[in-house]
Subunit: 204 residues, 2 copies
Amino acid sequence: MNGSIPNIVIGRLPIYLRELQRMAEEGRHITSSLELGERLGISAAQIRKDLSQFGEFGKQGTGYSIEFLMDNICKILKVDRVWDMVVVGAGDIGSAIARYQGFTNRGFRVGYIFDIDPKIIGTKVGEFIIQDFNSLVEILRKNHIKIGMIAVPGWAAQEVADRLVEGGVSAILNYAPINLNVPSNVRLQYIDPVIHLQRMTYYL
Amino acid sequence: MNGSIPNIVIGRLPIYLRELQRMAEEGRHITSSLELGERLGISAAQIRKDLSQFGEFGKQGTGYSIEFLMDNICKILKVDRVWDMVVVGAGDIGSAIARYQGFTNRGFRVGYIFDIDPKIIGTKVGEFIIQDFNSLVEILRKNHIKIGMIAVPGWAAQEVADRLVEGGVSAILNYAPINLNVPSNVRLQYIDPVIHLQRMTYYL
């Protein structure tokens, strides 16, 4: 199945899932592509088409069971389990990520946080003890961790990416404001607030 | 011009700009669509096509002047000036944003940070004194600030968005893990690490 579903469709599933979880928290049980579309600013037809790529999740006229649809999207995205992650960089951003409450119930958990600075290695960030960056590869391999987040300055980010890959990581979320090179079998996503801001100023 | 350039083209310009700035920092002066494409994983033809929508930035065979191209993209994206922004929410994420060094030289500056918690209003985050959320609208209007970042819990985010809009903000970057409703003349972008992570787990 992996090869046949367009990336852009996969990219929308987490948006659907987030809104469904919000509805579930509101105590709702049933929704429709129309309602979901209105809440997300996406056409109902697009949502039906995206979901139909994975099977039959609703009956004509009765809508979708929110719980059933959530369960299925979680399975498709493989977040019906909890993925351990590492954070590299224990500065402001890395510390905020390590303490972030928003991973809970969405398929992820921070397992370890690393830094290269001997002055902070061994100290605590939230409930985590900051680990030595030099033990990154070993800890990744021992714990079979597949996901890493980079929260170091731009100049250090490529080396961190290389070490993550060396340790077996195959999905990287990069907060450093720099484009990284990774092998083609490694997935890479970026979070750079300036990119998002510059996408808006054009219209101001 | 605004109506005629597709959003997706505008969305790629900040990526080009970031890479050009990186090349400039490396001391480089000339590049080509081929090199830029290789560094970014985008085809040279796509880059040439995107840039041609805004004019003639390079000569056949001699490539692009990095500085000239940067200047022009900055003008197009209106980041040839510095935009003041507000951050609402002085928790981990809001504090990390306020102290973030990555805005400098990229067109943005945090002007104020706000919170609703009387225990932290008046205390400092980096160089900023945390302002009372109840003075948000007034401060936005007085300073003609057009950009706001939301770093509050999900349940509080819609009210923050409403107040930002009331104060005249027309571009919002939302870090809260929730979809927001804003008037159609207000631009909205999201930063939610879980969305990015879930876009990768499908492929693991």
